[in-house]
Symmetry: C2
Subunit: 669 residues, 2 copies
């Protein structure tokens, strides 16, 4: 049997770039690349992490139990690896926690837990909550124990069955009882049940519960409380606790998302996390930090999600590219052999722009991360905070939506096989779909972005200084189409961002003049405002790409291919936003055709290097977990192997034949 | 406990139309409505068809066994119902088979088999194959037995692991052996394995196998063969048969899709289905029918799929509408209660156009069905056949793609809850996603449509008579924007359909002049050709809507609401295709704003009747099968009830605690 598909072999031999060069650049240097590969090998070579039965064939309960078995092994082996490699496992700080979170949503975590895993929120939300929301004393009490998981598995519960984005609407309440120096937590109605927290169903025994604080009947806002929900020894739910799993989802079925109801659950006063606000023994309430600071973690999470979206999109693009080079179909020339489907222009249009998009998302995620560090580590101005908040909202919305759309396209362009669970598009799509909603719903975040834009639009009219990402608000809304197609495209996007914003602003003013309140008028402008925010995102993404291109095209060996990819992304963005562009600018049919021709030319130029590029992302086969996308391209062999592993195929006649089909076939039903 | 959500109650009381009136119109009359309701009640009141455990919690194998148990009961009960209601179950003809197929993909079948079911292809493809492809003698031998399922459960196997759309590439071969008067069937390679047929894994015992016929080494095209694959008594695979299930998919997991390999499998000469071509005893090959006639069933299937797409979209729209009226979030006015989310304009934009779209798909499906009957029942011209073929290809592609996109939007606008399996978007989306590919892949069909358009474009240049759906090819490509917004919108779509076609045609000619072969030039024009075909679809859909509106708006009671819905669809289509429109026509920003304002105004007008309209589709709760979309609107109650049914919640501590979590928590891992 051949060890590598001969088409892939040939593609690799004839590529114009080295995928290893690409991998080194992509990883940020040879050291980082080798480091990552070493950690991956440590786990992937361990047979304990192989799945005997494909998880997609398991029942929901089996899948949970499987992910607990694998997840606990993972934690144990990781600690072992850390000891062997000189990491001090006792040290715990925000960086260690963040690194762990990155590992879980990065290649290694993805490879081991394709549908995420139930200890994720312990590291991703519970520990950061103690770090960000706990006093120093509370950190001393809880942090090391939690990091070692010494009797503690935690999660974080904010969202309720009936309440999501609007946090003031949350109903769970905590009443301070001065006599006993305790908080009494209650779920006053069905819609107040906590709903969604990962790991809360059967796994966690402690929860950071967000609840409305009341002292003597006075409301003091939403506060975090540390609540034990299961007995440390028996793991039985404690009195007053109603906890369980919320059931199967479109993806992330390893997460054990749970519900939680509280009935007169009492916790000591010390278990309100009091870094930002305090309740004294006598019930005095003291607010310490400005609520604005609380935004920090949310911004961080959204910055991370842009990276997740990139990662998921490129996984899917790698699978689709390899499949499109193995699959042969429909002769282009009559009488000739069926070509690799990536030779069809219609397939190139579906696949190659997604690769380019993923790379540009990576560039913007890096840029956003730099910005985040600048703003949070130095004395930042109110304006910078506002811009960071707006950018993180907007890019989270735009990148998750477009990445999910791209993954869907990549799945579809693999035809029927892309529909099989064994292609793994299902799992990738499942996680990508979740990101559209969680940590800030798409439309809600766009409306927040629009608020920032409206505010600055008025400043721009007053000729004030603009934040960096929207300096173009003060430029003229006319641009003469020059020879530089990319500059034309980016300017066109910026101008339509301004014009769409102007349109929303004027519409809003018009509604106000008709006597609507500001809020009513904002509601009636919702469609226009979200359109303006989306265009702001595309303008920022393409401008950032154009700026980075100037440096990247100078890179030895890779400069030319990166320039092609970045140009493809910019022109693709232009063509995809054409309706918004043409609405507000007079660009001729001929000028659009110019972009279109160059776009198609770039596809042709990139085609011979498509495999080398996706090889350069250096996804291990375990990460892709796909019958269609493995490095060796043995697509049909893997499809068949995977099908044969299906438990349904382990017996030649299924039991239901005797009980149901046979009576039917003999007319006895 | 309240029996109906009070918001829904209020919406129903204040609606301006009667949902029952709407239901009567939608069903095509009161008789038809009552008939459907009666059949549904017969099954839904039968506790045998309730699921003890949510199928989404089952393993893949359990799900199969569950669907076999339910499917065989369904067949038995249906026969009982037919006997009780005077149907003669012995009669079998194309209509009976088609009715059965319609029932399976209609409300009743959907309610009972949310992920489709493994006997479906017996009725949907196996029986029609015998009817369409078998001689009269073959029909006498097989038809009645197959209809009664007397020792026969069949399926239909065409697609192979390595071959789909390009049927000449199929590899399975049948060699005629004159000496024994048998065909010898073989799967010459891994990529030649049959792959996908529903029910083929563990259920069917006979298969219509499409194979390349060879007689004395001479090739005689693809022919259908009736092959027994499992023993009639024991159900064991017969010698030379390698059969199994291909594994879990994104949806349709009740179907038992299978693979099949054949090694020297012999069948008597009489088991080639010989209506269109015959092999005589001595090996003489006689072709009887023109291959063109073979298209008939494929066109029929695509016409049906447009109806399926409509049905799936409206299920999703009903769920999202009801949820959007129960869910309350984010005050519009500060200090006021959180409004129903359908009061947010941004939510109206997501939900209401999907309702309108589904209704217009229904109108076009009816129209296409009339056209199909005209063409197939009368002496039709070659031109009519070509138009029917193009229309069915194009509408299948456009409607399935846009319907899937709409369902995805409806799912997303239900936030996190839409992501839960219990919302049922997952199953609906799964089936909608499959339709993008099966029975003619999206892009392949658009390219076939484009071939028809190119041909007619050249005819139009020669001033020939045009088929009805493209008479506009001969109209001037300038249209003055008049007072009738809908007419403006439809004309704008028609003109861009012409212009995009012209662009593709010119580009193709240009490539030819550069020395490319026709096929190469066509490949290089692929992006432009599919764009032209898509616009043809939108032009046809909106023109059909506009034509029907003239009649429908006269309807008593419902005329006004239908006029609003159809107008919303037309204006929405215009706005969604704006880039293609503005590329080729000079329409001012002000004119676009006019459409936009009217579009938003229609949303406001439709809002108060949204619930009455979706109630009027008259989907039983069992059909929607959704915690979010039930008629009583008890969303949170159902979410919690469904979560509690999850087997993971049946024990207070999961077994994996003792084996894995406890050792971890005690530092013993």
């Amino acid at each position: 049997m051949e060890s590598v598909n001969s088409d892939l072999q040939r593609e690799r031999e004839s590529a114009g770039i080295s995928s290893e060069d690409f991998a080194v650049w992509w990883a940020g240097g040879r050291d980082k690349l080798q480091q990552r590969r070493a950690v991956e090998r440590y786990f992937f070579d361990d047979p304990e992490f192989d799945d005997a039965v494909p998880p997609s064939c398991m029942s929901y309960k089996e899948r949970y139990e499987h992910s607990i078995a694998k997840g606990t092994k993972f934690v144990a082996r990781l600690r072992q690896w850390q000891r062997e490699n000189g990491y001090n496992e006792q040290s715990v700080n925000l960086k260690a926690v963040h690194d762990f979170r990155l590992m879980l949503s990065g290649p290694l975590g993805t490879a081991l837990f394709q549908q995420s895993f139930p200890l994720r929120l312990h590291f991703g939300m519970f520990l950061p909550s103690i770090l960000n929301l706990g006093t120093e004393e509370q950190q001393r009490t809880w942090l090391e124990r939690a990091w070692r998981m010494d009797g503690i598995i935690g999660t974080y519960a904010q969202t309720e069955l009936g309440h999501g984005s609007f946090i003031r609407g949350l109903e769970t309440r905590a009443d301070y009882d001065v006599a006993s120096e305790e908080f009494v937590l209650n779920t006053p109605s069905l819609s107040a049940y906590k709903w969604w927290p990962g790991g809360m169903g059967q796994t966690a025994n402690m929860v950071v519960v967000l609840a409305q604080l009341y002292i003597n009947g006075n409301h003091h806002g939403l506060q975090p409380f540390l609540v034990r929900i299961r007995d440390e020894q028996t793991h039985e739910p404690l009195p007053g606790i109603d906890v369980g799993d919320i059931g199967p989802k479109m993806g992330g079925n390893g997460v054990n998302n749970g519900f939680l109801g509280l009935r007169n659950v009492r916790i000591p006063r010390q278990q309100m996390l009091m870094k930002h606000a305090q309740v004294m023994v006598d019930g005095t309430f003291v607010r310490k930090a400005k609520p604005q600071l609380v935004y920090g973690p949310m911004v961080f999470v959204r910055v991370m999600i842009v990276r997740d979206a990139m990662f998921q999109l490129l996984q899917a693009a790698t699978i689709a590219t390899r499949y499109s080079l193995v699959r042969r179909q429909s002769p282009i020339e009559p009488g000739q052999a069926e070509p690799q489907i990536l030779d069809h222009l219609t397939q190139q249009v579906k696949v190659l722009p997604q690769i380019a998009r993923g790379i540009c998302y990576r560039l913007v995620a890096d840029e956003l991360w730099r910005f985040y560090n600048d703003v949070t580590q130095s004395q930042s101005t109110q304006a910078q905070l506002a811009e960071l908040h707006a950018l993180s909202c907007c890019l989270k919305s735009v990148c998750t939506a477009d990445s999910a759309e791209g993954i869907d396209m990549l799945r579809k362009c693999c035809g029927g096989h892309g529909y099989l669970a064994s292609s793994n598009f299902d799992s990738i799509m499942g996680l990508a779909n979740a990101a559209y909603t969680y940590e800030g719903e798409h439309t809600v975040l766009l409306l927040q972005t629009a608020r920032f834009l409206l505010h600055n639009y008025e400043d721009a009219l007053k000729r004030r200084v603009m934040p960096a990402s929207i300096t173009y608000l003060r430029l003229p809304v006319r641009h003469s189409w020059g020879n530089n197609l990319m500059e034309n495209a980016v300017r066109a996007l910026e101008i339509s961002a301004v014009e769409q914003l102007r349109d929303a602003w004027e519409w809003l003013r018009q509604q106000r003049k008709r006597g609507q309140t500001l809020e009513q008028a904002t509601n009636l402008s919702g469609r226009r405002l979200t359109a303006a925010a989306t265009l702001y995102g595309h303008a920022y993404l393409t401008r950032n790409t154009l700026q980075q291109l100037k440096q990247l095209q100078k890179l030895p060996k890779l400069g030319e291919i990166l320039a092609q990819l970045l140009e493809l992304y910019i022109l693709d963005s232009f063509l995809r936003q054409l309706s918004a562009i043409l609405r507000w600018q007079s660009i001729s049919a001929r000028q659009v055709q110019q972009v279109e021709q160059r776009f198609e030319q770039l596809l042709t130029q990139l085609r011979p290097n498509a495999l080398a590029i996706v090889d350069g992302f250096d996804f291990d086969d375990r990460v892709l977990n796909s019958t269609l996308g493995a490095h060796d391209g043995r697509v049909y062999e893997r499809l068949m192997e995977q099908a044969r592993r299906n438990p349904l195929n382990q017996e030649s006649v299924n039991g239901s034949y005797y009980t149901h089909l046979q009576p039917l076939l003999r007319g006895k039903l």
